[in-house]
Symmetry: C3
Subunit: 116 residues, 3 copies
């Protein structure tokens, strides 16, 4: 059985709907194969993780995806730049010190890279 | 002799001219090396494959590229979303069930990823 | 000690600030690990390398990054398309015949790909 690994990169707010749709399509397509999917947000895209804001976010949808094993990750540099309070970030989000380093490390571990 | 493999990803209609220019430049640059080039369109970019629409498409140019071995591929999820009739899609286009899975699989086979 | 390798791809003028910020963040994050970072500009993004233009360029900043080992590279096809005089391109910029081929070759050598 094949195990797939992929990291999705998002740095623009207006790409979130497309990205989440991409992730859902991928989950449906893999059937009984195993897969590791990580969503890495840096730059302005981290604002989507701010629970105090009311974007067009479908929080239930993201929680469901997280429950299916999707890892949602935020870049700490971007969190600082956009002055987001860390305790207001959704619980299902992990924080890494530098999003770009995460992108490099994951690819060096064999993850595919997709930028919607 | 080196064999290169690359998958181009496009999900925006306004990137097609740039993408086709990228593909032509790549073909010119490889000289006597062999290369596998695939163009994977998902999201709204699949509309460019619709033969009933009159975009700024240079169909002859795409047919020529296809004749040189370039694979043009469409995501079936996107075809359904944009309600494109499959028998109206250009003959030289292949359809895969999920574009994102194709991007993951090709990279796991050693394809480079380029998003113009 | 781990050696990271990454190629940043830029083909839009308005992404330069974000890209340079990404590079700075990556340099800060790697600490004592070694890293090879290349910035590959093609399409309109090569105009940022033109020393006769006055964009919002922070030339000192790019020179500093170059001094820290960052490689700035321009696609010769794009230079021709945008009619940039080669002797007006900043000294710290290398030119390759085809930017897309550079992206393919670097990834085949194990470089991660990031498109800000």
């Amino acid at each position: 059985m094949r195990t797939y690994k992929v990291i999705f990169h998002i740095d623009e707010m207006n790409k979130w709907q497309l990205l989440l749709s991409n992730v859902r399509n991928l989950l449906e397509a893999i059937e009984n194969k195993t897969i590791s999917i990580e969503v890495l947000a840096n730059s302005e895209a981290v604002k989507y993780y701010d629970s105090t804001k009311n974007y067009d976010i479908n929080i239930n949808d993201m929680v469901t995806l997280h429950g299916k094993g999707i890892k949602f990750v935020a870049c700490n540099n971007a969190i600082a730049t956009y002055k987001i309070e860390k305790d207001k970030i959704f619980d299902f989000v992990d924080i890494v010190p530098a999003g770009v380093l995460e992108l490099v490390e994951k690819q060096s571990e064999g993850y595919a890279y997709i930028k919607p």
